[in-house]
């Protein structure tokens, strides 16, 4: 995991999301999900390149099923962008870096 990427748990979820001053992209992932592993390095790159403008936070759904249930995650990878504590955008499925950045452009 990249140095600019943080880890979320069910316990830390609300506090992290609510206290963040910049948008937080939560990456709902699991060890057994191939496409999740494929986008992990891309998210690390985005976290590094956009440091200060947004935060990338990873949430392992095996260990933290509660947050996934709360936000109706039914497919992974799912990325949810939170701003001011509220979910603003949901991106389902793995995507390349160019497409991801375009979909995130409104938050950058």
């Amino acid at each position: 995991m990249g140095e600019h990427t943080t880890t979320l748990t069910d316990a830390s979820f609300d506090e992290t999301i609510n206290s963040a001053s910049e948008p937080v992209i939560v990456d709902f992932w699991a060890e057994w999900c191939g496409p999740c592993k494929m986008i992990a390095p891309i998210l690390d790159e985005i976290a590094t390149e956009q440091a200060g403008k947004l935060t990338v936070a990873k949430l392992n759904i095996d260990d933290n099923p509660e947050a996934a249930r709360r936000f109706d995650v039914m497919s992974i990878p799912t990325l949810i962008v939170f701003q001011d504590g509220q979910p603003k955008k949901k991106l389902i499925g793995a995507k390349g870096k160019g497409q991801l950045l375009e979909e995130l452009s409104e938050f950058l």
């Binding site: 057994w32 191939g34 999740c36 109706d72 995650v73 039914m74 497919s75 389902i92 390349g96 160019g98």
Partner: protein, 334 residues
């Protein structure tokens, strides 16, 4: 202008990565343009990235997980100097030499190509067919899935259905029994097309039911899937099934849109190669794997034809006096 590569391989499933291993060992310093992440089979590593256990790839007595197998292929190619670019090819021009290739999200198709190559190996594979019925796009990720291994987890104790009758459909159904309370296989014929060993496992599984001679015609639910309408293909009779998950595995189509009007292909889209070789209608362009095979479509046959394409490309480059570039001069920032 970019440097002219000896060989560029488009696609990174078993065919493309085997071609990469062989061309790398022939000192051709191949570049593999491997595709972009996606949640369908159209992605780096190909169709096996979405499977679980591969039991029929020779050399693995107890089987191996699909993504692990493809990770091994890739690492083996990298060990011999193959380079990888995680982008999608968006345009090719094979009319003049060297061949021109454009890749990446923001490639300018009117401007300079992003890559030049003396020879090209096409191994873009095939991607899953979707149902083509209303509501499908909206419900992907909300109960409709193209990846059982990614999404099965979310259907613990749910009643779900799998559409299709081939090996992929049966494999998905068996995998999904780990989570779901009941899995119904919906198939348009009255028998499965899957291999005998998979058929037997499904037919005797107590969580798996069958709806024969049937097809899915409607999806219900907003925002999440809560049911489907199934039609009997003989009588036309329709009925509703309450399922919260639907997994689609009804076959594949070759990824050849890029090559329309450029490479010879069958009406079905599969590339045509000279029998007994991987040569296409353009000398110096070779095709291997599922993109040119609608008969066998196995990882091992794809790998075998990838090896053929590498040897065909190497011999073609030699015959045309296109010298292999020195690996040490290959730029590393690609």
């Amino acid at each position: 202008m970019p440097e002219v590569r000896n060989v560029i391989i488009i696609g990174s499933g078993p065919a493309g990565l085997t071609a990469a291993i062989y061309t790398a060992r022939a000192n051709l310093a191949p570049l593999v343009i491997e595709g972009e992440p996606s949640s369908t089979s159209d992605q780096p590593g190909g169709q096996l990235m979405l499977t679980t256990e591969v039991e029929n790839f020779p050399g693995f007595i107890d089987g191996i997980m699909g993504p692990e197998l493809m990770g091994n292929f890739r690492a083996q190619a990298a060990r011999f100097g193959a380079e990888f670019l995680t982008e999608k090819v968006t345009k090719v021009d094979f009319e003049s030499r060297p061949f021109k290739i454009w890749s990446g999200w923001s490639a300018d198709h009117d401007g300079e190509p992003t890559h030049l190559a003396s020879s090209v190996i096409v191994s873009t594979g095939a991607q899953s067919l979707m149902l083509g019925i209303p509501g499908e796009e909206r419900l992907v990720g909300y109960g409709l899935s193209t990846c059982a291994t990614c999404d099965g987890f979310f259907f613990r104790d749910h009643e779900i259905a799998v559409v299709g009758g081939g090996d992929s459909a049966v494999e998905e159904a068996l995998f999904l029994t780990k989570f779901a309370s009941k899995v119904t296989i919906i198939h348009r014929r009255d028998e499965l097309r899957a291999s005998k060993i998979m058929q037997e496992r499904a037919l005797k599984h107590d969580k798996i039911d069958f709806r024969w001679n049937s097809r899915v015609v409607e999806l219900h639910g907003d925002p999440k899937l809560d049911g489907i309408t199934v039609e009997d293909v003989h009588t036309g009779e329709r009925s509703r099934m309450d399922v919260t998950g639907l997994f689609v595995a009804i076959g594949h189509r070759p990824n050849t849109d890029l090559f329309k009007g450029i490479l010879d292909m069958e009406d079905s889209g599969y590339l045509i190669t000279v029998p007994g070789s991987t040569a296409t209608n353009i000398p110096g362009v070779f095709a291997c794997g599922d993109v040119q095979d609608h008969t066998y479509r196995q990882a091992i046959t794809a790998a075998g034809s990838g090896c053929m394409a590498a040897i065909d490309a190497e011999r073609w480059l030699e015959a045309n006096h296109l010298e292999p570039a020195d690996i040490a001069e290959t730029p590393t920032n690609w």
